[in-house]
Symmetry: C2
Subunit: 309 residues, 2 copies
């Protein structure tokens, strides 16, 4: 279902969350060695085109399974880029297929640069329905270069009814090295959160949210609560749930009182659910799609129980 | 001249600087609207393939001009990505053509992520001679995610005799927002510089330099001197010369006493020299390649005068 671009990214996401009654974001990380054998064998020749075809097939099958279960998917650009141009073609196919299936898309590419170079990245990835080559609803971006590195992305969001998720507080163990440094009682990530709020100002849609979102890891529940308060009009993308150790209780603080305003990403624990219990025993590798379906339903359920939305 | 991968990135760069007697890095930023008319018209159809063909042609002609004048070129990934997969194919063509012409390559893509995702980016871009799809000698990377986001890149550098340039102190006006914040008398960029030095440790080659380089802008001469001292074994990529306001005197502090250890990037003032005086008057648009040649020679000359290498 191609959506109208007259509706803002933030409002479209709010609608999609309501419609699916889910805050789960399915991360599409097609790691070759973890693909089910039936798909991995498509890549047996080792040629980039063959691997790319396997990635497209894998992601299409996941999209078929999750399309009415979740609001949004998040392809990880790096795995597609690893295959070279053939992978980048596959990335575009996957994004278009997700849109055709009624899903929204975050391209997780963590791009960053300044001025017209940042604009070039934004134009490459942001804007659905042929507005951009890759046609994503939204993109993850890194803030190290400062405000003038984020403004060009936000400008393109304005033009194309798109969104960005700025890395604020990341879920990895080493994230604190720079992000947690304190100056005048304010951490670096708090300063980034202020910047996110500043950029979102005057851009708030009917949903109460604007186009400038934030990435805040599930692995830091206290900071997640603090960041929810600091960026009341920003969608928060929460990575680190599941495989990285974040629990449903950990992510609760990321949501607004209505149980909206955040989406929780899970990549390998959903898409490769067939490799872990109880799904491995229940479905085996041959029914890997059923494992995706079951694991996604379980994640939705676990999160729903916490809200009473 | 494809170079042997048995020699480290840092040592190859030292050799290339000596051979060409130049520390100039030519930035390949093919902005469509600035291309000479004779090349821009290749893109008249507006199709991504046609634009990509124009970018490839433009960059090849620049490479033909600068190949014996400078050690290294720096394609800016964003402009290629803006064209979609066709642009990414062009990026690969340009990198290969640069290598065939005896030039080294920094792909300026400012990638960043963690763990196996960072490894995927590194494998996508790093390693010449068919080791990677894009085949670059080196890549720019962003440090916001911390040490565990840089280590995977450095590991691939080890495996493929490649290098990275970590964003330390960038040349843009807004760079200071996060980079200049002070904790315990140390700025964020100083902390990143320490991290660069830590990662470079035990990797120093015959040239005295290691694979982990740094980006430090020409627009902050005092910090450049300080960063030279803080990272004595890191190649420094200095952007911001020319169009962004940095002068030859400003960049001097980035070099070691032998006039090595740094390269100075210049993009639009070289590749679009035909658009500015005195080159516009002297060559006009039709002889834009002569403008590139003349501007590159002048930049080499201006920098050489400062050293007496």
């Amino acid at each position: 279902m191609p959506h109208s671009e007259s509706s803002s990214f933030a409002d479209r996401l709010a609608t999609a969350v309501s419609r699916t009654n889910s805050v789960t974001c399915v991360g599409l990380d097609p790691r070759l060695e973890q693909l089910p054998a039936s798909i991995r064998q498509m890549a047996d020749s080792g040629a980039p085109d063959a691997k790319a075809a396997a990635y497209s097939q894998f992601c299409r099958e996941i999209i078929d399974v999750v399309k009415d279960r979740v609001p949004i998917v998040k392809p990880q650009a790096a795995f597609f880029e690893q295959l070279g141009p053939a992978g980048m073609i596959s990335l575009g196919e996957v994004i278009r297929y997700a849109h055709q299936s009624g899903l929204m898309v975050i391209t997780d590419a963590k791009r960053n640069d300044i001025g017209s170079t940042a604009t070039a990245y934004a134009q490459a990835y942001l804007g659905v329905e042929d507005a951009s080559p890759w046609g994503s609803d939204s993109l993850t971006v890194s803030p190290y270069l400062g405000r003038d590195s984020l403004e060009p992305f936000v400008d393109v969001c304005d033009q194309r009814a798109a969104g960005v998720f700025v890395l604020v507080k990341t879920s990895n163990p080493g994230g604190g090295l720079l992000q947690d440094r304190v100056t005048d009682e304010q951490t670096v990530y708090e300063r980034v959160a202020d910047l996110v709020s500043e950029l979102n100002q005057d851009r708030i849609g009917a949903s109460g949210y604007g186009p400038v979102g934030a990435v805040v890891g599930a692995t830091y529940p206290e900071q997640l609560a603090q960041m929810r308060a600091a960026m009341p009009h920003s969608w928060i993308l929460i990575p680190g749930f599941g495989a990285q150790g974040g629990s449903a209780d950990d992510v609760l603080a990321g949501f607004d009182p209505k149980g909206s305003g955040a989406i929780v990403n899970n990549s390998r624990n959903l898409i490769f659910a067939y490799q872990r219990e109880p799904f491995a025993e229940k479905y085996g590798e041959s029914r890997w799609q059923d494992a995706v379906s079951d694991a996604t339903d379980q994640m939705n359920q676990v999160l729903l129980q916490r809200f009473s939305r």
